[in-house]
């Protein structure tokens, strides 16, 4: 890209939206954004492995609780699903706001997304605690091991996301997250939406089709 093109990029966010980077790259798109998509593509393999393992092991237990609609608290988990779904909306609104240069609105939505993620994690902690009280520990049986590993990995992803969200919020409060860094928020938004997508799969495969 020539110097003129770089200058044009700085004043034309539409180029930025199309993945056109503000610096020269061999692919012609933003390296950071491409790296996130590569990571998400590889994360499909991680969660694919965990979901497949769960499917293979869930009814292989010889003792202890087994998956069923009676065991899972579907209404409670449904509320958690709606919370995570709503957090995807607030994340998308945060990305939209920062692209428009509305830092205050973006900051509000980033914090809202973090809070909703926190509510989801709190629900997961409550759920795990109640399952342990019902006799399903991590090493109780194959179902327990596979279930906690799958949903726990997802919970870790959400928790890491909350840390990033709060970091972005602090950056924004300090004035370090202006429209010129909109791509940073957008790239994190990809991660957060992916976490939501994985929950869409887990909610159906683990909870609704026990």
């Amino acid at each position: 890209m020539t110097d003129t093109a770089f200058a044009a990029h700085d004043t034309d966010p539409a180029l930025h939206d199309k993945g056109v980077p503000s610096h020269d790259t061999s692919t012609g798109v933003s390296n950071e954004k491409l790296a996130m998509w590569v990571f998400l593509g590889s994360d499909c393999l991680l969660f694919g492995g965990l979901i497949s393992t769960y499917l293979l092991l869930r009814h292989r237990s010889v003792s202890g609780p087994s998956p069923s609609h009676e065991f899972f608290d579907i209404p409670f988990t449904s509320v958690s699903s709606f919370v995570l779904l709503f957090s995807s909306l607030t994340m998308a609104l945060a990305v939209g706001a920062i692209h428009r240069g509305d830092e205050r609105r973006s900051r509000t939505f980033l914090l809202t997304t973090a809070l909703l993620g926190g509510v989801f994690i709190a629900g997961q902690v409550y759920e795990f605690t109640s399952f342990v009280n019902e006799g399903l520990g991590y090493t109780t049986n194959l179902f327990g091991s596979a279930f906690y590993t799958l949903t726990g990995f997802h919970g870790v992803h959400v928790s890491v996301g909350i840390v990033f969200l709060l970091s972005l919020f602090v950056m924004s409060v300090r004035g370090n997250l202006g429209p010129e860094r909109a791509e940073t928020v957008e790239i994190f938004g990809l991660y957060w939406h992916f976490v939501d997508i994985v929950w869409i799969l887990i909610f159906t495969v683990v909870y609704l089709i026990p």
Binding site: S81, L89, V95
Partner: protein, 119 residues
């Protein structure tokens, strides 16, 4: 689902140059419509919980299409795959298809699909 673009958001410091940008992203109202659509689908999914003694094939037939639609809508609208650079879509879809292929082979090799499998 059509994607509307933003007419004008809150005034920001990049007003003139952001005009082109406004047309590259869905508007807030579009995001909200997408979220409502996803919420309705989720409510329908939860509704299957109240079916009395459903068979697994029935649940799969009802829930899998909704799950796939939700997956596609989040990826397409919220993650901007519908209108972003095609390279991003190719990278993600490659990883996704690779995962599906690998684990379908794994499940098949473990005879997961046979009626005698206990899992």
């Amino acid at each position: 689902m059509s994607v509307e673009t933003e007419e004008r958001g809150a005034a920001g410091p990049l007003e003139p140059d952001h005009e082109a940008h406004q047309h590259a992203h869905p508007s807030d109202s579009t995001y909200i419509k997408v979220a409502v659509f996803l919420a309705v689908l989720t409510a329908l999914e939860v509704g299957t919980y109240f079916i009395k003694d459903p068979s697994t094939p029935l649940l799969v037939a009802l829930l899998f299409p909704m799950m796939i639609i939700k997956f596609a809508v989040v990826a397409g609208a919220f993650m901007h795959l519908r209108f972003d650079n095609p390279l991003f879509r190719r990278v993600f879809v490659f990883g996704l298809l690779l995962a599906v292929a690998v684990y379908v082979i794994v499940l098949t090799s473990m005879e997961y699909w046979s009626s005698s499998y206990g899992g």
